[in-house]
């Protein structure tokens, strides 16, 4: 986190006033009582953030947590209610794709217009024009009005313009998941290029895998506050734990409002423990190829019928590597009430060196989630230093 700061956000708060009336008549009629028709909503509360040059920061969080608002403040589109946002260098925002396009103009005219909106001069656009068209891959249609474009072509052209601007800071809001796979790969390659050139990228996204893949820092926003800030892996952990908590809450709420209560069985994990084949427990360290025992304790307050337990292994970034459950293993679990212990043995884990987490889940036979623990326990694997990645193999080399 060293290096020059290009974005400095100091104690920023943003309040939205939600008015329930809009027209002159309504305002006049309700003039005296106008405070009754206002609601305050704090989209951001005392946010402090500094971003240094060359870093790629992912802003993540649940819907409505203030990510886009914060991005708009950095872009200068919105003004903070209090606090300040300072910047260095040239800034460009990847528009929600194509919002600068006019349907009646041709592709060519729109390229110039859009480039100009993004801050390119006419000369620069002319210089990059061929590259842009080439990148978009829609050369034959460049002189057609864009209203006749398919949505894919629209997006391709918009993105092609956007990646040819030359910003120091690039703001990206939920736009990377566009186009077909080939085009997406091109876009991602381009973004890697941007990183390589030392540009600062601030990314708002729900694609957590993208954050894991690209960002060297992730900031989790929650109800307008910074809930976590650091390595993507730590931040994602916080966010995923959050999502699970929210899901539980929703289940509970739904339960309470239902007419006939407790249709869904109530049960939860009370403990998950790991033991390696060599006997290590707690946060065990395995040799590659060693087996792992996952013991779970379940407490059911209502009888569980027709149910299943599942366990899985994931990387620290949450990418699932392995998963199984009692149904897949061909086990029919008996009816169960109260506390019970169960054990899975996962033999011969051919994992590469690194940290791994164990997930546990409890499902009804119809697929209803009864309880899920995304980060039930952790273990590490020691490699022999001869490989990278999550998978271990017995590698040999020969010159033929």
């Amino acid at each position: 986190m060293d290096g020059t700061k290009v974005i400095r956000i100091q104690d920023v708060s943003k309040r939205f006033v939600i008015r329930k009336e809009k027209s002159l008549k309504e305002r006049l009629v309700n003039f005296g009582r106008s405070n009754l028709h206002k609601d305050d909503f704090w989209a951001l509360r005392n946010v402090d953030l500094e971003i240094s040059t060359g870093s790629t920061v992912g802003l993540i969080g649940p819907n409505g947590s203030g990510k886009s608002t914060l991005l708009k403040m950095i872009g200068g589109i919105m003004q903070p209610t209090s606090g300040s946002v300072h910047l260095r260098g040239r800034l460009a925002a990847l528009l929600e794709l194509g919002s600068g396009f006019h349907p009646d103009l041709t592709g060519r005219e729109n390229v110039f217009l859009n480039a100009s909106i993004l801050g390119l001069s006419r000369k620069q656009t002319e210089r990059h024009f061929d590259a842009m068209v080439e990148f978009s891959g829609i050369e034959p249609f460049i002189d057609t009005q864009v209203k006749f474009y398919s949505s894919g072509m629209y997006v391709r052209l918009a993105f092609a313009v956007a990646v040819h601007v030359d910003p120091d800071i690039l703001l990206v809001d939920e736009v990377l998941a566009v186009g077909d796979e080939l085009f997406q790969r091109k876009c991602l390659e381009r973004i890697r290029g941007f990183q390589h050139e030392g540009r600062t990228i601030v990314l708002v996204t729900h694609g957590l895998d993208q954050v894991a893949e690209f960002c060297d820092r992730a900031v989790v926003l929650e109800h307008g506050k910074v809930a976590a800030d650091g390595k993507p892996r730590e931040a994602l952990k916080v966010l995923r734990a959050d999502f699970e908590a929210t899901r539980q809450e929703e289940v509970d709420r739904a339960e309470n409002t239902k007419d006939e209560p407790v249709k869904r069985p109530r049960a939860r994990f009370t403990g998950v423990a790991l033991r390696s084949d060599s006997g290590a427990t707690g946060h065990p360290s395995l040799k590659s190829g060693e087996g792992l025992t996952v013991a779970v304790e379940i407490e059911a307050t209502t009888p569980l019928e027709d149910w299943e337990i599942g366990v899985g292994i994931a990387t620290p970034l949450g990418i699932a590597l392995y998963g199984t459950n009692t149904r897949l293993l061909g086990v029919q679990l008996p009816r169960h009430v109260g506390t019970g212990r169960f054990e899975f043995h996962l033999g011969q884990l051919a994992l590469g060196e690194g940290e791994y987490s164990v997930q546990a889940s409890l499902n009804g036979a119809d697929g209803t989630e009864i309880d899920t623990v995304p980060l039930a326990a952790e273990f590490s694997v020691e490699g022999d230093g001869r490989s990278r990645g999550a998978l271990a193999a017995r590698a040999q080399f020969a010159v033929l």
Partner: protein, 303 residues
Amino acid sequence: MTDIATERAVRLAAEPLREAGPRPGFASGTLSSLRDIAAHRELMGFLVRRELKSRYKDSALGFLWSLIRPLAMLLIYYIALGKFLGAARSIPDFAIFIYTGLTAWTLFNEIVTIGTASIVANSGLIKKVYLPREVFPLSVVGSAVFNFLIQLGILLGATVVVGRFPSGTRWFYFPLSLAVLLVFATAMALLLSAVNVYLRDVGYLVEVALMILFWASPIVYSWAQVQKTLYPKHVTLEQLYLANPVTVVVVGFQQSFWVAGTGRPIPDHLNERLWISLAVGVLLLWVCQRTFARLQANFAQEL
């Protein structure tokens, strides 16, 4: 880090931090606002072109439509007012007279009407990217001026046809009147486009106000007729009538292009009135721009 990256980091380290978005301050922000707008003049050019190209795209007659409206108005007023009501008897070259007024009026009308709607019409862009938002009303001014030039060409053609092409000192009034008109119309467009974001009633209000203003200016009747009614009994009313900047602008236009009207009564001190209007207009423009700058801070969330 690569060379480019290091280079960039070094360059950025030398730059001072600046505030995101428009600079605050009512009076102090003027200069930075002007600089911001000047930096985006190329974009304004593109927006003007977009406006012009998209307006009549896919219509067979295209640009002709922007002429058909004023020509139809001319025909209506010429026949209904000029012939049936007899206005043409006291006004020589009645067609030229009306078309002169209409040319000026159309420019004013277009800037104010379309300008008022310009911010709301471009809400998609305003919510997504920071630009000095003045470019939207200003690009409306640009496209309106383009249409105005075409109409002006027709007007000059008509003066040639009737054999009374304006010459000599008459031309002094034209640039001055045009400047007054542009300054006032731009000021209104800036102010109203910003207020329209918060209160959509403004669009309808503007329609009504412009209709009143049209009949409160000597476009289809002459100043001489107004004077005959108001002078000398209602001097205050007369002065009030002359305080309307559109009135002096229209009279100024007529002084330039309505050659047949030479020697007819004109408001006294027309020249001074125009200069004063210009000064007031420039001041108004400044106040309106500053108000615009204030109001634009919340555009993105109100749209």
